[in-house]
């Protein structure tokens, strides 16, 4: 299967500062990819380059098109939320639906109206009368009703309460996603998306720090609750991260590191489990703000 997003040596300078530093990305169809990185790491810049919103250097192909020169063609199959709560203030709910239905051949009006019906939004309501969360709800209802091959969501649930966030991700997985679609999500609320992701991309200082599928991550990274008597032995195996929970040491091991580690070897040290993406992220990004 050909890649939905493929980048080679993608680079973006803002003046002298390098926002994205020669990264390679390969995202296949039918994946839900979490693009995760600290503030200012280059996630949004990478996405904007892929969406043809900014100029960049390097090879870049999205759905077989170059977003820099074929953006108009590309936008028929791509949809994105680059930032939430940016709908124009004068827009009415019904006008928004009419407009998107008018310009987008892949928009399913009834679907959008169904999503809207689940909110407190009314057809004549203007964006300027809405709370931040309601604006996001409207935006998501519009975007989720578009049958795009690639959906890019940059912090899609900012400002939403947890009930709606959970419902949104549930919808995204059950109602929207299928094997022909690809979704790229960035978010700081990693815990909420990790169960729907199929792939992880960690980005740090404009470079890809980790690119793997969730299965690979599960095989590769192991978290061990080390008994107090085995701490020294465990440290000898060079954990990539160590923290203390209720007096117990929790260590994170990379099974692929030089020498290699087996699960059984680690199981001898204490209780073994899969690390959360958030813990893995923190371990990978150690020293970012130092």
């Amino acid at each position: 299967m050909s890649a939905v997003i493929s980048a080679r040596g993608l680079t973006k300078h803002y003046g002298k500062r390098i926002a994205v530093d020669s990264i390679d990305i390969e995202i296949a169809a039918g994946r839900i990819v979490g693009l995760i990185g600290p503030n200012g790491s280059g996630k949004t810049t990478t996405l904007k380059a892929a969406l043809g919103l900014i100029q960049c250097e390097g090879e870049l192909s999205v759905l077989g098109l170059d977003p820099r020169t074929q953006r108009d063609e590309l936008m028929k199959d791509v949809c994105f939320i680059a930032d939430v709560a940016i709908l124009p203030r004068w827009l009415r709910v019904k006008d928004a639906i009419d407009f998107v239905a008018g310009v987008h051949p892949r928009f399913d009006r009834s679907k959008a109206e169904r999503y809207i019906a689940n909110t407190k939004l009314t057809p004549t309501m203007k964006v300027k009368e809405m709370s931040k969360g309601m604006i996001v709800q409207l935006h998501l209802a519009l975007v989720m009703a578009i049958d795009a091959k690639l959906l890019v969501l940059d912090e899609p649930t900012l400002g939403l309460d947890i009930i709606y966030r959970k419902a949104f991700y549930q919808n995204l997985l059950e109602d929207y996603f299928d094997e022909h679609k690809t979704i790229v999500i960035t978010t700081h609320q990693v815990e909420e998306v990790e169960h729907i992701l199929t792939d992880l991309l960690f980005i740090r200082d404009g470079k890809i720090a980790l690119a793997a599928s969730m299965e690979e991550i599960g095989e590769r990274y192991v978290e061990v609750m080390v008994g107090s008597d085995k701490v020294a032995a465990a440290r000898a195996l060079q954990p990539i991260d160590e923290r203390t929970v209720f007096g117990k040491s929790v260590m994170l091991f990379d099974a692929l590191r030089a020498g290699g580690l087996s699960r059984t070897q680690l199981a001898a040290l204490g209780e073994v489990r899969n690390p959360s993406v958030a813990d893995l992220f923190v371990a990978t990004m150690k020293g970012t703000y130092a």
């Binding site: 919103l53 124009p88 987008h104």
Partner: protein, 327 residues
Amino acid sequence: MTTPMSTMKWLIRRELWEHKGAFFWAPLAVAAVIVLLFGGGFLYAIIANPSFHVQVSGEQVMTVNGLPPAVLAKLATAAASSYLVITAPLFFVLPVVVFFYCMATLYDDRRDRSILFWKSLPMSDAQTVLSKAVTALLVAPLATIAIGIAASLILLVIGLLGGAIKGINLIAPVLANVNFYLAPVYLISFLPLYILWALPTVGWLLLVSSWAKSRVFLWAVGAPLVALAILAWFDFLAGRFAGVSMNVKWFGEEIVARVLLGVFPGIWFGEVNGEALAQQQQAGLDGPLLLGTSYATLLTPGVWIAAAAGCAMIYGAIRLRRWRDEG
């Protein structure tokens, strides 16, 4: 079905949603004021005065209860050919509205970041910018013309009925006058000329609106004026010390005036030889003569060059919009 034409239709409709106040309510409010002021004033005068009086130094010297047929005919011709003139204030509102619309339209959505929403939909930058140019050059003037014609007709009806009640019945002669029907046609016939003259201003403002990172007004208005001032100063110095003179007046008229004032309807009368208009004998406005002298300005290359420059600047605005996504 989504076609480029249907997308264009929706884009223009979007502009009207956003600027309903400027394109409809503002001219409607002005029209309402005109109708109330003139129509109401006229009705009051009729009710307050039983007949037409001519007063000299407060003393009534003459009471007119009817008019001679020749005067009636002249009055009817004047009313039939120039009844639209009363809505002239609308055409002072239009350029102001269009000016500020063009200046803000490609800037505001960058400032509030809603451009990211519009750019997430399948429409090109060319379609977006062109929809705004069409709104400024065609939709807004048409709305004003329609409102102007409607308000004029209301006033004419009030005037004719009021006159008839007072014994000066002009209804039949006005309705029989071909100019009564042609006046709106003449007015609409000015639109193509208006578009040509407005193009450089609309193009310039869209370009600045698409380019500026802040202070659009300052760039749009200040830059040409500062350029003119610098040129005038330089010309003054050069003329004084080197004996060289540049054509500053030309720069002011052909560049600055065209990029800033082109949206004013009738700006072309600045180039018209006024003698023909001053010599007209007919009562009321001579529509064909006005149109003829106005369109005669197209015989000079300046209008065409400026209109072409306007198109080029609109193209520039499209190109700039392609990569200007962040406010």
